[in-house]
Symmetry: C2
Subunit: 138 residues, 2 copies
């Protein structure tokens, strides 16, 4: 199979597949004309990568997961550790985004959004009312 077929079958862009080869996640064979030739096992790894990436695993996580995937002596504890680490990072990100969302939604709801210049969003960003007394007015 050539890269185009693999791209269609895995849903991954050919560019991405080449990139994954470049960083050592897959190692397809080569035909005499230089074209990459993908085996079924390459397809499997790429499909695996596609799913792992869609769950947000980092490339380095994916590398570890692929290694465990191919290791029959693996301990599921190692897989779980990677997944839990990723889950923790997701939770951090969610907390951060949720806080942003809350602050931002509040500001947006306070802004008239008309043709006048007065804007609580800019006031907040400029620090108006942030830390002090009347002296803070510029």
């Amino acid at each position: 199979m050539n890269i185009g077929d693999v791209a269609r079958r895995t849903g991954l862009p050919a560019k991405t597949i080449r990139y994954y080869e470049e960083i050592g996640l897959i190692s397809p064979l080569r035909d005499e004309n230089g074209y990459r030739r993908f085996r079924e096992s390459d397809m499997h790894r790429l499909a695996f990568l596609g799913r792992a990436r869609s769950l947000g695993f980092s490339i380095e996580d994916c590398r570890g997961l692929l290694e465990l995937y191919g290791d029959r002596q693996r301990a599921s504890a190692d897989v779980k550790r990677i997944a839990r680490g990723h889950l923790a990072r997701i939770d951090e990100k969610l907390a951060e985004l949720t806080a942003m969302r809350q602050a931002l939604a509040h500001l947006v709801s306070c802004c008239a959004g008309d043709s006048r210049p007065d804007c609580p969003i800019l006031d907040d960003l400029a620090g108006v009312g942030a830390a002090g007394s009347d002296d803070d007015r510029q």
Copy 2:
């Protein structure tokens, strides 16, 4: 004020401040020895940037916001549009992360996490049970 003072007062790393100058977000003066000399207005812009960035606004959003900040003829509608756009991006990201989190938490809860190789996480990533019959076994 030199960059070190500004860094201390805004909480932004000096590197970041130099970077903001490089991309045209601020334009501090220069002393004869080549050192950057920051006015109060530079401080204000940097503080503004720090807050906008902490709310997750992109650099380009920040550029637009700063321009509106300095424009007394602005319409708050323009500010609100930027903020709403950002809010929409946050909501997208939150939806994506929430979906990831849910799928991942489920997988993690299914995994024994012991010394045996059987692992529902890897099974899922490998597509086991995804779309088919027994023939899918490799």
